[in-house]
């Protein structure tokens, strides 16, 4: 239902982080404040700390 059921390859660290940064830049240029940017930077760093393997 939520798209979380499907099996797939392990999430590779760093890929989402890069995409997230690009998406933010593309979609929110001129709208993000310092706090938002800090949040996104933190998000990217957090995602690099773990690898998830779905079972």
């Amino acid at each position: 239902m939520l798209g979380i059921d499907s099996k797939e390859l392990p999430v590779v660290k760093g890929r989402y982080a890069t995409n997230a940064r690009k998406a933010v830049k593309r979609a929110h240029t001129g709208q993000l404040n310092a706090s938002d940017k800090k949040t996104m930077t933190r998000s990217a760093k957090i995602l690099e700390e773990f690898v998830v393997v779905k079972e």
């Binding site: 239902m1 939520l2 798209g3 979380i4 059921d5 999430v11 590779v12 660290k13 760093g14 890929r15 989402y16 997230a20 998406a23 933010v24 979609a27 929110h28 709208q31 938002d36 949040t39 996104m40 933190r42 998000s43 957090i46 995602l47 690099e48 700390e49 773990f50 690898v51 998830v52 393997v53 779905k54 079972e55």
Partner: protein, 188 residues
């Protein structure tokens, strides 16, 4: 192949309908622990939420539940979104667009999220949130614009600072000793 940090920790996430697997789990907050051990199973059985267990080295370190939600966003919050003071969905939205007339918005709600007491302050909770957002963003069948939480406030404990740190914004006006609906925009 992307480089992997040697310090990267490996987690497994499994969906289950058996909350008894959490019998030894404790997040240290009495009301949440009581709920997990006594009432969660009935919520899962009734289909009110989907339960996920997060393991590290086969040990359950966290749990979370997801559900669909029609998120109420107050007019004041919507106004701030339009002004750019709060994040808004990435749509070509005119300030007068019909989109803003809706009181409720399709969302995925993180109904419960708890990290084992012995594993707290290790970024696991933050990671789970980022992971959920990433999965929803990657799901073409899911068109919701928001991930929502009802941040718990009880007996002097408040989850609101944690969710704020994770980039959530209040979807309604904050009131003392009352759970607060918060949201984060799904970035696709």
């Amino acid at each position: 192949m992307e480089k992997q940090n040697l310090n990267t920790r490996k987690l497994t996430i499994e969906k289950t309908k058996d909350s008894s697997l959490l019998s030894d789990f404790s997040c240290g907050i009495e009301s949440i622990d009581d709920f997990i051990h006594s009432e969660l199973q009935s919520y899962v059985d009734m289909g009110n939420c989907q339960l996920f267990l997060v393991r590290e080295n086969s040990v359950i370190v966290a749990m979370y539940c997801l559900d669909n939600l029609n998120l109420y966003i107050s007019e004041m919050t919507k106004s701030k979104m339009r002004e750019g003071a709060k994040p808004m969905p990435q749509k070509d939205l005119d300030p007068d667009d019909f989109y803003w007339l809706k009181p409720f918005f399709d969302s995925v709600e993180i109904t419960y999220l708890a990290v084992d007491k012995s594993k707290q302050h290790n970024h696991i909770g933050s990671f789970i949130i980022e992971y959920i957002l990433k999965e929803i963003a990657a799901d073409n069948n899911n068109i919701c614009d928001f991930v929502a939480v009802r941040a718990l406030k009880c007996n002097g404990y408040s989850a609101i600072p944690f969710y704020k740190k994770c980039g959530f914004y209040a979807a309604e006006e904050e009131q003392a000793e009352r759970n607060l609906f918060m949201y984060r925009v799904v970035i696709r």
